[in-house]
Symmetry: C2
Subunit: 435 residues, 2 copies
């Protein structure tokens, strides 16, 4: 049997695990593919790294463009937009199937890759781009292809989950928890991509595209990170028997005027203790999927790391190589639904708002009037009175709303902050996971 | 585009949902397949049922054999061995791809179906046969095809999970909980297949075959049901901060003499409160998968019911139809590993044993000696002394062992029961989920 020639682009944490598995489990993988997988070469930026790894030095090259021209399958684990995109497009043009873990590229320019895959009749697989080892994209692309997904709610960034988990369980502030995450290697020296939600937003775009058969790019995703989450927010959540999680939320919606649409957002939110996602601790990932016929599904596992990500890459590699040996192709882009993306202001959300107010008659009525003026309905109000330093009482008002357009909720918060009787708005956070 | 002609065999709870979705979501499914799906006919035993459903009466026929001859894809939701097997073999011989939800058939005679699929170059998909709507077989067959699965631990029978959940949360006995499950339609009038573990054993055989790339049939599965689980067992578990679940356990093992092997078993077991499977309540299913690179994964959702099962069937149908339109085939049987199945006596397990003993010096030493004679190491002993009716004290000894061959543990229990100082063996149950 002719071997399937595999070109590996990148040899960092993930790439080196892919290469190691290809060499140590070669016989087993060959049985699953129906032909041997031959590691044709590994493209790296500098050859120095090659010496540190237990791999044949002759495999390494700095000529990525040359390598992809002679491969049956190209595995890309470089990350970033360029040169990854050009290399994958060249690979497909030369007839190679492609496996990538590149969430940024898929979320920014997935359609270009898909178009190339269709034009050249090759496979494009990218399970590792979202939630590491957790089989999630194949279930969305294939297992649920006969169903209608209505919502995806996920913890898809391990770094921020680790930080929020520490804030919740150990009472740390954001800065301290971030520092610990960095010390343990869960967060990078520049943590922006994780803590500002860029990483999760890219994944949300990919999930929404697959779940709703429509095009969603990273730019369509409303994004808020966790840098403004305070110990007070986390404490406030705990009092409500809830936890704060950074969620990627993809929803199908519809209204009488504009018909069906999707909304895609990444932001911290309070979810009740009893929600299956609430128990997802440490740097784990988990994704909750709701579909019309299937009901509620959850997928849980390690969302990052060399080995887990390599597991997903190798699963895709076996699929692409098997298709190559047996003929046929995996699913291409499915974007027929072509749904508009709703701006965040129109998306129905719920807010938890904690206010520091003067404790005197009429304050609650004044506050309630602000909500009414914005057309926002209140679900619960809790008032706690405690003595103020320097005499007199103050009260903490904790309000949870019913669903309302996010813009109305946001305007409500602005109006509350302007009230004379409101000393400060102590915590504002969306509430999810209760429907 | 030529339509793909779909023959539906069976129109019960699942079949009617499949038919309903095919007709109501036809346009959307056509987009995903790349061609329209045409429901060519529905084979039923008696035509009477047709009138109760909101489906074109002209679709129904009692001539299943005639229907399959003229189909591109045959969907089988009749269940049972015959006539399902003959019809599927005829369908494949006539060139049709096959989708089935039939766990009993797959677990008893999967290789025969796979051989026919290979010989005739057609697809064989059966996601709905295990854990209903939860995407599980596709992840095992494809997503984890580049990894080495070491263990599958699952709650794969909703009826028994409902019963055990009620015994745990509401303190019911088995009979009462079963009665309630029957009243709610979770258990059948004859509950044998569920409560004796036959259903779970068939699913365990399917899971083990896919996870370990080897043939495992229902007859290879060690099976114990939940009919002997008592309120005392459940209470004893609760004292240990554990819950009783009926688990399907598939493990890869190896020893110096015989090399690699697999063990596959279904039995009630105590798992710690903190294990993700412990929180799976009601009639939900969940499956925990451990793989060398991926680490721990969990899949959760509805394991039964018309709509969830139809979701899985329709996902397979889209895949098979898409392969038909685009060329190519899904994965065939992967049984190259050809591993022996270990008898239960050789499988390392842990026991929880609760004894009613006389409270006098020397009893614990005598009990400990029995364990030592069988080469079983004790992990914890807990002794509770309470007054005996009619005077004198008695003691409850609760012992949890380390792992030992199941035969040695079983022999230990027999020997303990024969001791003069042991009044009764009150609870014996395996302990899982702590490694």
């Amino acid at each position: 049997m002719e071997p399937v020639r595999v070109a590996l682009l990148g040899c960092g944490v993930v790439g080196s695990e892919v290469a190691r598995n290809l060499t140590t489990h070669g016989a087993e993988l060959a049985q699953r593919v129906g032909a041997p997988l031959e590691l044709a070469g590994i493209a790296v930026r500098r050859l120095g790294r090659a010496r540190e790894l237990d791999l044949d030095p002759a495999l390494f090259t700095t000529d990525a463009a040359g390598l992809v021209k002679d491969a049956d399958v190209v595995v890309e684990v470089i990350g970033g937009i360029e040169p990854a995109r050009s290399l994958l497009l060249e690979a497909m043009a030369a007839g190679a199937g492609v496996v990538t873990a590149n969430k940024a590229l898929l979320a920014e320019d997935g359609p270009t890759l898909y178009e190339a895959a269709t034009r050249h009749g090759v496979d494009l697989y990218y399970e590792a781009s979202v939630a590491g080892a957790i089989p999630l994209l194949r279930p969305l692309r294939e297992s649920l292809a006969g169903d209608r997904v209505t919502r995806v709610l996920g913890i898809v960034n391990g770094t921020t989950n680790y930080i929020l988990d520490k804030m919740h369980t150990a009472g740390m502030g954001f800065a301290e928890a971030l520092e610990q995450a960095q010390a343990l290697g869960y967060a990078e020296a520049d943590p922006t991509a994780d803590v500002e939600g860029f990483d999760a937003a890219a994944k949300a775009a990919i999930l929404a595209s697959l779940a709703f058969h429509t095009r969603v790019s990273a730019a369509d995703v409303h994004r808020e990170g966790i840098t403004t989450v305070t110990a007070a927010d986390v404490a406030s959540a705990r009092e409500m028997h809830a936890v704060v999680k950074l969620l990627a939320i993809c929803e199908r919606g519809s209204d009488a005027d504009s018909g069906e649409s999707v909304s895609v957002r990444v932001h911290p939110a309070m979810i009740p203790d009893t929600h299956p996602l609430a128990g997802v601790g440490d740097a784990y990932n988990a994704v909750f999927v709701q579909a019309e016929a299937a009901g509620e599904l959850m997928f849980y596992g390690r969302g990052a790391g060399g080995q887990p990500t390599a597991s997903a890459v190798l699963g895709d590699l076996v699929s692409v190589a098997r298709n190559r040996v047996g003929g046929g192709r995996g699913p291409g882009e499915s974007a027929y639904a072509d749904l508009p993306v709703r701006p965040i202001g129109d998306v129905p959300t719920r807010y938890h708002i904690s206010l520091d107010v003067e404790d005197r008659p009429g304050v609650l009525a004044q506050v309630a009037l602000v909500f009414a003026e914005q057309g926002v309905s209140i679900e619960t109000v809790r008032q706690q009175v405690h003595p103020r330093e320097g005499g007199g009482d103050r009260a903490a008002l904790v309000i949870v709303t019913h669903r309302a357009p996010d813009a109305a909720l946001s305007a409500t918060v602005d109006a509350l902050a302007g009230l004379d009787t409101v000393a400060s708005v102590d915590s504002v956070m969306r509430v999810e996971g209760e429907d």
